[in-house]
Each structure stands twice: as C-alpha cells, then as structure tokens.
C-alpha cells in the first residue's frame, strides 16, 4: 500500500484524506503547519518564490521524513506561477535526495484520471464514485460550517465559544465515514453555533469582504489568523472564496465567473491569472451589496494580486468602499498586522456610527422629536 501525502491548505486535509482512504490507500497527513514547516520551506526554496511554494515544500519535507512515498499536488497553466510549482518542488526534493512519486493534477480531467489510475491502481467504479461523493460531502459541510464561524465570532456570548465548537466539529468530521454521520454533524453543529449568538460585540454591524489569493485566504497559518482576528474585533467576515466555490468553478458548475467578469468591466477586462480578476469584480459586487470594507490578502511577489492592487484604489473611490491591501511573506509580523486591522476596523466603525447617528438625527428632525 502506498503512503500518499498532500500539501496543507486550511482544512482541506479532511476531504483529501477521506478520498485517499476510500480509494484504498494510506493517507499520510503532513504535520500541522508550524514555524518549523516554514523554516524548512524557506531554507530550500528560491527566495522570490511566493509563500505557497515555500509552505508546500515544508509540508512535503516533513511528510517524506515520516515515510510518505507519493505526493499529490495541484497544478495549472498560468499566468499564475503556481501551475509550475509542482515541477519545481519535485526538482528541489530530488536534489535533496528524497525518493518519491509525485502526481500533479492539471486542469485536464481525462489526463488526471489516467494519472490517478497509475497511483491508485484498479479500483471499481462504485468505489470511486463513493470516494468522490464522500470527499465532496465533507468539503461542503466544512465550508458551510466555517461560513457560520466567520459571522458567528462577531456575536458570540462567550469569547472563543465559536472557535471551540469549530475545533470539535473538525475532529468529528475527520472521523466520519458515512454520509448520514456527516449530515448529522452538519446539522448538530450549525444549531450549536446558532445558539452562541448574542448581541453584536461592536454594537454596530460591520461586514468586511476578504478577497485575494486563494491559498493566503484559506490557510490561516500564513495569513496569521486574519479572519479570527477580525472576528475577535467584532467584524462579520464575508468570504466566498473557498474550496467548494473553487471546485464548482473548476467543474464549470457555477456562473460566478460571469458575474465577476461583468462587475469588473470598466476596471479590468482580462483574466490575469490566479484570483486577480475575482478580486476586482468582487470588490465591486461587495460594494454594491453594501459591505463596509474589503481586505485584500496576497503573498509577496504575487503577480495577479499586484495587478489587482494597482487597480483597487480607483475601484475604492468610484464604488465608495474602503480597501486595505495586505501582503504576506515569511517576514510578516503579528504586531504590524494587528495595528493595521484594528485601525481599519476602527475606521469602518466610526464611519458607520456616524452614518447611523446621522440618520437618527434626520428622523428626529423630520418627526419633530
């Protein structure tokens, strides 16, 4: 039996592990991303590669040390450099003397199927269907519950309650092997999270849309827990970029991209790789939905997001929505991030309070009160 490993990206480990196990192989989850992972990745990576390459490489090294013999990695065909990272990492790891087989999944379903068959051997169709079904089921439960966490933190009665529940949920979901159990967990934990709701911590409702490069958005280790920090500051985080939405787009099951392209018109008309176009289009859409602010996150040297960043000031002015761009690399420190987040949230809160007070004043004047 093979020992198959994969890079970490948020809680993607849960559905990926389910998939590998259901297909009859052993899933070897790399250790949780830590400072050690980052140090290893930085040490063996080219300096100007972006953070995802470095962390992935750190994951692989740690997993290979634990005895993994096969790596599954995502690919792509540009303009974002990520598409080539699998190949680069393969070279780097071989130079370091590791023996392994690497499977890079490209946006070509037939070719992927052929490659997967090489790794997993002959598996009957029913088993494949069940494995994919179970993995997607877990993924969707995961993203659905996390969406509740993102808004729930802003109004939890006991500080940290929502995160405690989420951690329990993850543990249980990881162990689940039946469809019914996943459904049950989904229902149970959405009720539990709903029950934590009290009044908004801030007194006013502040909605911030988080946009940018998908790995940085999803992986909380590299974004220094930005969504949790925002939640603790009493903000409702609106984030629609997750693995479910990515998968829907990848399989051409969603019309999201059409809406994004339409909204971005007037600012950007081309696909510029990664989520660059999404960042522009969604900033426009979120502004029109009435969100209070946008935070763009991206790794240092990220080409698509740098292009988006230079367009954002114009979008911000014309659509009337404040935007904060944050660039992360291995040198980014917690203190600087906290100061910026706090200041941004203060800015939005003061603006909102003034708007609300203004309208109350207006009503009083009109009603003669």
């Amino acid at each position: 039996m093979r020992k198959i490993t994969f890079p970490h990206m948020g809680e993607l480990r849960i559905p990926v592990k389910a998939l590998i196990q259901e297909l009859g192989q052993e899933a070897l989850e790399p250790p949780k991303i830590s400072k050690k992972t980052l140090d290893l990745g930085v040490q063996y990576s080219p300096e100007f590669a972006c953070l995802p390459l470095k962390i992935n490489l750190g994951n692989f090294i740690e997993a290979l040390e634990m005895g993994a013999d096969t790596i599954i990695m995502g690919g792509g065909c540009g303009p974002c450099r990520f598409g080539f990272y699998g190949e680069v990492q393969q070279e780097l790891l071989r130079e370091m003397g590791y023996q392994f087989e690497m499977l890079v999944l490209e946006p070509d379903l037939l070719e992927d199927y052929r490659r997967l068959k090489q790794v997993f051997g002959r598996v009957n169709c029913r088993k494949i269907a069940r494995a994919i079904y179970l993995a997607i089921k877990k993924l969707r439960a995961l993203d659905s519950i996390y969406k509740m966490v993102l808004s729930g933190r802003a109004s939890e009665k006991v500080e940290g309650e929502v995160d405690r529940l989420y951690d329990h949920f993850l543990e249980q979901l990881d162990l689940a092997t039946e469809r019914a159990r996943i459904n049950q967990l989904h229902k149970e934990y959405s009720n539990l999270i709903k029950a934590t709701a009290g009044p908004l911590k801030k007194g006013v409702e502040i909605n911030i849309g988080v946009l940018g490069e998908i790995y940085l958005i999803i992986e909380s280790f590299v974004n220094l827990n930005i969504e949790k920090k925002l939640g603790q500051l009493g903000v409702i985080v609106r984030r629609e970029i997750n693995m479910s939405s990515w998968l829907a787009h990848f399989l051409h099951l969603s019309n999201e991209m059409k809406l994004i392209e339409k909204a971005a018109r007037g600012y950007l008309r081309n696909f510029i790789g990664g989520h660059g176009l999404d960042t522009i289009g969604n900033t426009v859409r979120y502004a029109r939905k009435g969100y209070d602010g946008i935070i763009q996150v991206a790794p240092f040297t990220c080409m698509p997001e740098i292009i988006a960043q230079t367009i954002l000031p114009a979008v911000s002015v014309r659509e009337g929505i404040p935007v904060l761009s944050l660039i992360f690399d291995e040198h980014t420190a917690d203190a600087g991030l906290n100061t910026r987040l706090e200041a941004f949230v203060d800015l939005l809160t003061r603006k909102k309070r003034k708007q609300l007070e203004g309208s109350i004043y207006h009503e009083q004047v009109l009603s003669g009160g």
Partner: protein, 319 residues
C-alpha cells in the same frame, strides 16, 4: 471635583503622556525617551504628572503606541488603541476639516486621509524605516549635530544635493560619498530631508489623494527641514500642531473620555498614581508544546501574574 483624562503613548523612541481637562482640552504633556525601558519610563512620566498636578482626579485613561498593551495592563487603561486611530482622532479634534495627516514617528510613518473628521483611508510604512525618526537620529549623531538643530542646518542650504533615499543604508553611503566630494553640510542635510520626503510620498503615500489642509505630526515634525521639503513637494502649507509630539497620547486620552462618557462609566479602570510604586517584572519562556515554539511573556505586578502574551494557540490564555 472635575475629572481629567490621561493618554499614554509608548513608542519605540519616545514615551509621551498627555493630560486633558474634563472637556477634552489640552492641559499638560510629558515627553520622555523610551530608551528600551518602557516600564520604568511610564512610571517616571506618571510621577512627573503627579508632581506637577497635585491630587489630579483621573476620569479615564487610554494607551497607544507599540507598547500600548503593556501600558494598558500596567495602568488599567479604559481604552487600548492603535496609533493610527489615535493620531486621526487627535488631528480631527484640534483642527476640524483636516483632510490629510502625515505622521512620522520613531520607527514608523503613516498617512491618514480624512473626510468630515472621519478617517477614510490610511497607509503605514511596511518594509522600510528610511525617513523615520530613528534614522534621522542616527545621522545626526554621525554628523555630531544635536537632533534639535538638524532641521535648521537644512534651511541654510542654497543648493541641496540629491541623496538616494530609497533605503537608509544607501542613503547613508550616498551622504558619505557627497561629503567626501566636498559638499557643504547644510546642503547634504537639506538633500537628505528632500530624499526622506520623496521616499515617504513614493512609498507610504503612494496612490493617496493628498488634499489641504495637511497636518504634520509625530516627533519628526519638529524638524523644520522636513517640513520645508514637504511644503515644496506638496506645494501647499503644512500645519504643525503645537503638541505635534504627543498627538497619539492626546488621541487616546480623547478616546478614553469618549468611552467613559458613552458607557456612562462611573469610575475609570485606572489603578491610580500608586502604580508608580508597584513593582512590575516580566519573564519569558519558549513553549515546547509544538514546533511553533512561541515565546510566551509573563507580566507580573508585585509578583502577581497580571498578563501573558505571545502564544499562537489558546494553551496559555488563562492568566
């Protein structure tokens, strides 16, 4: 008896305290060098305030600056606020209608854009400390000129030389080079001021719409050379508030006042001027729970643990 409000700004280079009257008007200030000993300097500052104003009744106290958390737990602050918000609040309070705030402190510089008294956009230097107070301090020391006179030298220059301002290391070697070519000191200093301002406008203020009135605050605003360079580049007058060096402290005192009044709080959380007699100590250790090896810091007040930070996970949350 009327209640006064205190603001404490613990920065990388200086620690400042501002005193406001019950209506939020400025009363007094203390400006001290932090010298890497924040706890000692905070106590020293409070002692000075107490000496000057006997029996001052404190209605609220706020902290800000990079040491805001430490000052907050030490003193029992009603608000602990980041320096961007506090600078914006102070500027808008002193000059209604201000549209741009330029703030250059010891190790950071920022720009804040306001509309109708509310900050709508801001930026902070992220990768580079060129043009901040520490660098100017260092250069003044190297040239053997007191930092207070640094700006005056710049004003004497007829033909400022062009200094590379992209990076403080290059700026320094370029200055040495220009000195060795035989340029006069005032011309080099004026050139440095211009380079700093260009660096600020191209990095920190990049893409921001700078509108009048412009307020310049922070320790570096005392430097007339930098002020003049800003006025030339922006082609508009730059206003320097009387208390430009303690604006952060004023801002957080105003926020403390707002907080106490908004919550109709009867009593401030301030521990009182007796904190100057308390013994504050800290120690740190490396957690061995996981490969992150977080450095956990414990803060003790008279040997009792009052705060702890530095962890990535909730393991050390409970005090």
């Amino acid at each position: 008896m009327s209640k006064y409000y205190l603001g404490v700004d613990v920065g990388s280079v200086s620690t400042n305290i501002a005193v406001l009257d019950p209506f939020g008007n400025f009363v007094d200030k203390v400006y001290l060098r932090t010298r890497g000993k924040p706890v000692q300097v905070i106590k020293e500052g409070l002692r000075l305030i107490q000496e000057r104003h006997n029996d001052l009744e404190v209605g609220g106290i706020g902290s800000t600056g990079s040491g805001r958390k430490l000052a907050g737990v030490m003193l029992g602050a009603d608000v602990i606020k980041n320096e961007i918000t506090t600078h914006a609040v102070a500027a808008a309070h002193l000059l209604s209608g201000v549209k741009t705030v330029i703030e250059i402190g010891g190790q950071d510089s920022k720009i804040i854009i306001l509309q109708e008294g509310i900050p709508v956009d801001f930026a902070m230097n992220s990768v580079c400390a060129a043009g901040t107070g520490s660098f100017l301090d260092q250069q003044a020391a190297r040239l053997d000129i007191p930092i207070e006179e640094f700006g005056d030298y710049a004003l004497q220059a007829a033909n400022p030389v062009r200094i590379a301002g992209r990076c403080s290391v290059f700026a320094e070697s370029d200055m040495i080079h220009k000195q060795q070519l035989g340029h006069e000191l005032p011309e080099i200093i004026a050139g440095l001021c211009q380079a700093m301002v260009r660096n600020y406008l191209n990095n920190v203020a990049k893409g921001k719409d700078i509108k009048k009135p412009v307020v310049f605050q922070g320790g570096v605003a005392a430097n007339v050379g930098i002020k003049q360079a800003f006025e030339r580049e922006l082609d508009c007058p730059v206003i320097i508030p009387d208390n430009h060096d303690v604006m952060g402290a004023i801002g957080t005192a105003l926020l403390a006042r707002e907080e106490v009044l908004r919550k109709k709080q009867q009593k401030s959380k301030f521990k009182g001027f007796t904190v100057t007699d308390f013994d504050f100590t800290s120690n740190s250790f490396e957690c061995e729970g996981c490969p992150n090896q977080c450095e956990i810091v414990n803060i003790y007040q008279n040997e009792e643990l009052i705060a702890r930070w530095g962890a990535r996970c909730p393991r050390w949350e409970a005090v």
